[in-house]
């Protein structure tokens, strides 16, 4: 009778280095405070808080909110860069608070302010009305007379190559960081903005869509796509790798006759 030799369980030698101990340190968190119903002046409040090397800016703000000042207004939800709620200006640059670790800022003073180019509701919470309204204007859906669901019709064929043309742009979480970084948005309140333009391209290039002509007409306006000067700031701050600047230039290619 054949016997099977069962190897004795060996104690595995770990190849993963042991996690280094993080020494907590204290930093100063400067939070911009603004309440339009009380006064029209922005002031900064400073809080000394303990942080670990993995502490995110959002966690730091929530620490202050739980322990030091309950009245701070901040919008957040998923804490994992998926919902796009916690966009704010951190040390002068628009970032997601849940996605930015204090340690990567390499500063003992962290200043958080509401995102620029969005009206402030209170403290760090801003109003997204304009972003959502321009997003809606771009017809962010498949325009196609032939529906997939009617009897006698079949699914639209889409190859992986077709998918790759727009997939990147469909990762937009509408956090608004791109609009906040855009130099045109800094002064032009009528500009569509990189978020809206990138979404216009996302649907235009989808091979199931037939709304290219309509969308191109919408963006070919005085405050439309031509107010983008490829400063690249939108792509520089996008936390999801959407690269709105690329989408805008590709969309513009249709209007310039470089693409059909």
């Amino acid at each position: 009778m054949a016997t099977v030799e069962v190897p004795q369980e060996k104690k595995a030698e770990s190849t993963i280095p042991a996690p280094t101990q993080s020494t907590p340190k204290t930093i100063t968190l400067r939070i911009s405070r603004f309440n339009p119903s009380e006064n029209a002046e922005t002031k900064f409040e400073e809080f000394k808080i303990p942080v670990q090397k993995w502490t995110t800016v959002l966690e730091a703000i929530l620490y202050v909110k739980q322990n030091l000042d309950h009245s701070i207004a901040v919008r957040y939800s998923c804490r994992q860069a998926s919902c796009g709620s916690c966009g704010m200006k951190i040390n002068g640059k628009p970032r997601l608070a849940c996605y930015t670790k204090i340690s990567e800022l390499e500063s003992n003073v962290v200043t958080v302010e509401p995102m620029n180019n969005f009206p402030i509701i209170r403290d760090l919470a801003v109003d997204f009305k304009q972003l959502f309204s321009t997003h809606k204007k771009m017809k962010p859906f498949i325009v196609n007379e032939e529906s997939e669901v009617l009897p006698g019709t079949k699914e639209f064929v889409q190859t992986p190559q077709d998918l790759e043309k727009f997939l990147q742009f469909s990762y937009c979480i509408k956090c608004g960081l791109c609009n906040s970084a855009c130099p045109t948005m800094a002064t032009d309140k009528s500009f569509v903005g990189p978020q809206g333009l990138a979404q216009a391209y996302r649907y235009t290039v989808d091979n199931r869509d037939q709304g290219k002509k309509e969308r191109l007409k919408i963006v070919d306006q005085s405050h439309g796509i031509w107010r983008c000067h490829f400063a690249g700031s939108c792509s520089n701050v996008c936390p999801k790798g959407v690269d709105p600047a690329m989408a805008i230039q590709l969309l513009r290619g249709y209007l310039l006759g470089f693409r059909t």
């Binding site: 002064t187 032009d188 009528s190 070919d220 005085s222 796509i225 031509w226 107010r227 209007l255 310039l256």
Partner: protein, 114 residues
Amino acid sequence: MRESIIMKIHYGTALGAVALVAVHILMRLSQKFSDSLQYQNVIANYHFLPYALMLEVILVLLSVHGFNGLRVILLELKQGATYERAINYGSIVAMAALVAYGSRTILMAGMGHS
């Protein structure tokens, strides 16, 4: 006019101007720079019809490109129907005025009124 057409004009005038301004600068360098600016040399330039025509084309291209660029910057700085209309028409007027003023020099110097 659609914005895409305006911007195609903007790009076209830029490319045209680059080529012609290069010729204009090379003409200055065909002799010693200070000599090329001597009164009789400059007058001779204006009397040479192809060169005078080229200057006229450069004038139009750069005026259109320059004032459209300024229009774009000003439209982005402030918004409002009246302001935007003023900027749009204002740039056309400024463009035309500069072309007219420059053309007057080219025409009169070319015809010997100096």
